[in-house]
Point group: C3
Chain length 277, copies 3
């Protein structure tokens, strides 16, 4: 098993990340398939509330969560607007995990960060449910494949090795005259605006964190906080979030609603300069 | 026990299907009761977002999911507007599964399809929590009963055998002069309109699938697709869904919203005829 | 293990109660951390739909659910508007359970009801993930601490014993000239209005249940029902709910929407008196 399952007593976790919602029983059905194949697996929901067909949103959620799971975890992603078309299904092995997903860019952040050991196109129908429906590959292909991989079937048995997969174009912050300019890449349940501006980028500027100001949607925020309670209730703050990116928040409030901004919104970070006239 | 649990190593799955939502802790409480009685069970959520008191919606979700679970699974359904009244609680055994539900029609599709081995009215308070509340039989009756059944207690110990249970009147497609006419029986998270028109019905007409047209809410769709991407983004399509029923969708969109239709909406399927003048 | 884990075969359950929602992967990430530390635990969601930062709502949900779990369960609550500030994190042991929560009042009802064996401030970074983020202590502190406790690490190893914790001021019903007056403390998914008026309070009046009337938001309800179906569809009723509190409901409807009331709404209960002129 290529080193992933060396410890016999290891918990076999399978995570699920879909845009299926939880109302229709689609996710439950996938779990039924998984339990039918591998009674030892623990299935963990990452999210099923990805906005329908929103590959970037799924890519971000996966990126922020995947590395907190035990080695040997199979991460299954079914955000798949191309279901039934000729889009490929891929299995990707890194040092610690296996990822199974449609080849639509949802693994973009993982490829950038993780040590990829091999990518395979999943084609071996022996590991699929039959008949394969036109609309629910989550049930008929993805779930049984993830279950077999979790049981220890080698990725190479599921299809041929391929050279690469589709990547999303992810906006990167650009340097400006006064600092740099990034954008909002995710808005979470609390209305926090998560940007693509990483902590390292700010550190490169060798400027104290208290010497930055952040501009977003007409608001200017001075300094970067350590806690949501550093400012009064209802006030804006900038803070480094749990994935290491700069976030814009409202203390005990909802920054997204207050500012009326959406994903893609520009966020500027610049050094505070004292100007003498 | 009756043959369901012959394999000793079998995974004991209990599925939950309710209209409780997930905000109040009701479902978590039921799981607490189950884990207290049977530590070996894996509990899988089918859905808790059934519209409050919507028995037909629950019946459809159960039907589309139940047979993907391992033999021995106990399917527990608590969509129960009559809680506290004299409505019966029933346990039904099929070749592979046990179903526990209020006797309100939620098992209608299962009875039509599965090989029913016995139906029992659940009355034995020995297997209930005490005191029994007036409003939360999910916690006090359904969850402990499902847990005991999953552990191997025979249905016959829980109450007496009964002859039959309540069935919903499910609309069936009717033949028209030009083809047939069915209706929308479920609308899923993606806005797909799932009809009561099964694949077999169309096959009986011995007409090529490309020779059908579908009329719904003022739209006419020609032919039946194999993938949501067979048509351009935003266009309507008809496709056989994962439960074998004809569905109306919008590629990468929401057919329910675009058409403004609801469950019960008429859907006509007719042969495309070329007319010579 | 202070008596909690005496039975070796005991199921180790960890419950999660947060205001994180399920869309962002925050809860899944916490489960990844837990499974990495303790493969034997079963994780059960109590609710993740607590209104953001609503400590009282979380306190009520916890109270209504906690005692239905097996002895040895670790109840983890992360409704934590003060994350990153100097608010304490506490671990509290009762006869049957361990609670881990921010010290913000969310354990108020538990302290009132359960037999508290010890309260500790959790400070031992040995049991935390590193680095500790500023915004996601659920992942970096709460989840690993709960996992270690579930594995059998003693609370005393996690920090020093403390004398007490923060309590919410919970409104209590007050006696009036005609009966008493309480308020709505929770509104559930069905729109049921759950009050702070317990069954025992009414029993003290030694008046038959049919002899009470309930006034709320301009409506008057006569008598207390045993089932939602005791009245016609669409009619109001008062009933003792599953936590032993008086609830106001609409049969097959939504009392909260119909009355337009919110949490905090006054509810009066008074004896029905026949007046002779």
């Amino acid at each position: 098993m290529h080193g992933i399952y060396e410890r016999k007593d290891m918990k076999r976790v399978i995570t699920l990340l879909t845009d299926f919602g939880t109302q229709d029983g689609y996710v439950g059905t996938m779990k039924g398939v998984i339990h039918s194949i591998t009674p030892r697996a623990s299935v963990v929901d990452l999210s099923h509330e990805v906005s329908p067909h929103d590959i970037l949103e799924a890519a971000y959620i996966l990126y922020s969560a995947y590395r907190y799971f035990p080695a040997g975890t199979v991460h299954l992603i079914v955000v798949d607007p191309g279901v039934g078309s000729s889009r490929r299904i891929v299995g990707m092995r890194t040092a610690d995990y296996i990822f199974v997903a449609p080849d639509n860019g949802v693994l973009t952040f993982i490829i950038q960060r993780a040590d990829v050991k091999g990518i395979f196109e999943i084609t071996n129908e022996k590991y699929f449910l039959k008949p394969i429906s036109d609309t629910f590959h989550g049930r008929d292909i993805f779930a049984p494949v993830a279950a077999h991989l979790s049981k220890g079937v080698a990725l190479a048995k599921l299809g041929g090795r391929i050279g690469g997969i589709k990547k999303l174009k992810i906006a990167k912050p650009r340097v400006t005259q006064e600092g740099f300019c990034g954008e909002v890449i995710h808005i979470d349940r609390f209305g926090n605006l998560i940007t693509n501006i990483g902590r390292r980028l700010l550190e490169e500027f060798k400027v104290q964190i208290s010497k930055f100001k952040v501009k977003v949607g007409g608001e200017v925020i001075f300094g970067i906080s350590k806690s949501y309670t550093d400012v009064e209730t209802g006030k804006f703050l900038a803070i480094f979030g749990s994935s290491g990116f700069l976030e814009i928040s409202v203390s005990q409030g909802n920054a997204s609603k207050v500012l009326g901004v959406e994903r893609g919104q520009e966020v500027e970070v610049m050094e505070i300069r004292i100007e003498y006239q």
